[in-house]
């Protein structure tokens, strides 16, 4: 279960603007999903230690070098941004 206050708190953490209607809907929907997910509490996980990883991943290293064929032009990437100025991304002021 999750209540409206918690929904608002999580939305803030997630940087999501939700309308009052959305908050209300989310309360019901998330509660239902969380109730279902609670099934996991039945599982005995004692035998699983921290080291038991689900994927056999190892660290992968590479040389730290410039690959020219992967280079993209600054302008190309900046042209995707909503606002730019003189070769920089433009954002609202952070310090006031």
């Amino acid at each position: 279960m999750i209540n409206k206050q918690e929904v608002k708190k999580i939305a803030k953490l997630a940087r999501l603007e939700l309308t009052d209607k959305e908050v209300e809907k989310m309360e019901g929907e998330l509660s239902k999903v969380l109730d279902y997910i609670d099934k996991l509490k039945e599982v005995d996980i004692e035998e699983i230690g921290q080291k038991d990883r689900f994927l056999n991943l190892e660290n992968v290293f590479r040389e730290d070098e410039v690959k020219n064929d992967l280079m993209m032009k600054n302008e190309e990437l900046l042209s995707l941004s909503p606002e730019e100025e003189q070769g920089y991304l433009k954002v609202k002021s952070v310090l006031r």
Binding site: A11, R15, L16, E17, E22, M26, V33, P82
Partner: protein
């Protein structure tokens, strides 16, 4: 000549023998899309110019008597969460509505190098989150077998495009069943490769420990051809592996093959029509001499819960990049407040399902809930993986249903997220365990009211990196050899 019902090898032969040109073929497909896709809405973007220029290049090669690769001149469609340079890539989200891909995904690069002809980008559930393609910000795709029904999702546009003969094959992505479930609903073949078999570079990330790109095709043989082109280690995706190019394994002997049937995938209250078809498939293998063995995957009933913690958690982190600053939709109605740009851009840019998953993931990862949800889910994931490891000590492959029902009606499940999530019940465990799995047509179920036949698939699950084996097992059935 009917140019639209061909397999990849048939097209390859036709091009070499000059029965038709790549240009003619491409035009025929584009014409069909133009005429018919208004009923189905499989495509979000048609890349006519790109397709025709690629086809011309292939014709030039053929004209100058150069040898052409298998995929040269073969028209394909690409799910709109895989980047094609200079073409819009929306992930079916308002937040990326005008985003133009600045580079090619590795799979796209490989297909372009072969001379593939890219017809367009296909519809999906927003950011690949969903099981019906109804979560697309640009409207749902319809099932070509019954326009009242969903094509499945999230790769619904790709599966519908292949089923409706809009393209010879398509690329999809599969995080919890997003290739296999729509393949089942649309009567086509879908391969979800082993985690790491295919590079994810240039795939818009949803849940990085689960996502995998794979082919959707008309036949199992075609799935193998496409998989062989797109697989392999990529320095740009450090989770990718080199899969041995030529399998050294001995030729498959049917009488030595053991196929497992997990009892947890045949529930007491399951759809009888589905059970009947899947049992029929199993019987066909048995009659051909394959040994069928009942097995148990005891943690199956927890897979869906586990998935709906892990996938949203990873998604909430992956989707943090959409902030209205670097690219994508930006809500600039917020005075001089940077934080408000984040809140409003995300609040207005994301659709309801994406928001739900971000919320669910943020909740699972938040202080005070992390141990109870995320950490516990990771441990259950390990148990699910161990179930499969144990099973594969006794059997070579596992056969199960792909979906609990055939394609459902548009609007039937969209209002109840949990009911929608339950349609992934037979596919999510495969992603959690990182295994390869093939979905292929098993038969059809006749709808009592409309009288229309609805396709249904079965699933062959294999050991890690055993794609060749499950494809071979599948091709026996697909080619009517058993």
């Amino acid at each position: 000549m009917e140019l639209l019902n061909f397999t990849i090898s048939r097209i390859h032969q036709g091009l070499i023998k000059k029965e038709f040109s790549a240009f003619e073929l491409c035009q025929a497909y584009l014409k069909r899309i133009e005429k018919e896709d208004k009923n189905i809405s499989a495509f979000l973007t048609i890349t006519e110019e790109l397709a025709l220029s690629q086809a011309k290049e292939v014709d030039k090669m053929i004209f100058s008597k150069k040898e052409i690769p298998f995929l040269a001149g073969v028209p394909l469609a690409i799910k709109d969460n895989i980047l094609v340079k200079d073409i819009k890539c929306t992930a079916a989200s308002k937040i990326l509505e005008n985003y133009v891909a600045p580079y090619d995904a590795t799979v796209v690069k490989k297909i372009k190098e072969q001379g593939g002809v890219i017809l367009g980008k296909t519809n999906l559930d927003e950011f690949a989150m969903g099981s019906s393609t109804e979560n697309s910000a640009f409207g749902p795709t319809k099932n070509p077998y019954d326009l009242q029904r969903v094509p499945g999702g999230s790769s619904g546009g790709s599966a519908a495009a292949v089923a409706a003969n809009f393209s010879v094959y398509a690329l999809g992505s599969d995080t919890g069943g997003s290739i296999r479930q729509p393949a089942s609903f649309c009567g086509v073949v879908g391969l979800k490769p082993t985690y790491g078999s295919v590079s994810r570079y240039g795939l818009i990330a949803f849940a990085s420990s689960l996502d995998q790109i794979g082919p959707i095709t008309k036949t199992v043989d075609d799935a193998k051809i496409v998989f062989d082109v797109i697989k392999g280690k990529d320095p740009l995706d450090s989770t990718s592996f080199e899969v041995s190019l030529e399998s050294e394994r001995r030729k498959m002997v049917l009488e030595e093959l053991i196929i497992g049937v997990p009892k947890e995938y045949f529930l007491k209250d399951m759809d009888e029509r589905v059970e009947k078809i899947i049992r029929m498939v199993i019987k066909r293998y048995e009659e051909a001499g394959v040994k069928i063995q009942e097995i148990s995957l005891p943690h199956t009933e927890y897979a869906l819960s586990c998935y709906y913690i892990i996938a949203p958690s990873e998604a909430s982190a992956n989707l943090a990049r959409y902030d209205g600053i670097k690219y994508g939709y930006s809500e600039d109605d917020s005075g001089n407040d940077l934080l408000a740009v984040y809140f409003n851009s995300r609040g207005k840019g994301f659709g309801p399902e994406v928001k739900r998953r971000i919320m669910l993931g943020t909740y699972s990862l938040s202080s005070g809930y992390y141990d109870a949800y995320y950490l516990r889910a990771q441990k259950v994931r390990t148990l699910i993986k161990k179930d499969f490891q144990k099973a594969f000590q006794q059997v070579d492959a596992i056969i199960t249903p792909v979906t609990p029902t055939p394609a459902f009606k548009l609007g039937e499940k969209i209002t109840d997220p949990l009911t929608m999530y339950l349609s992934d019940i037979f596919t999510v465990a495969v992603n959690l365990a990182g295994l390869p799995a093939l979905s292929m047509p098993a038969g059809q179920i006749k709808d009592e009211i409309s009288g229309l036949g609805l396709p249904l698939g079965f699933q062959i699950i294999g050991k890690p990196f055993s794609e060749d084996e499950i494809l071979e097992i599948g091709s026996l059935f697909n080619n009517g050899l058993i």
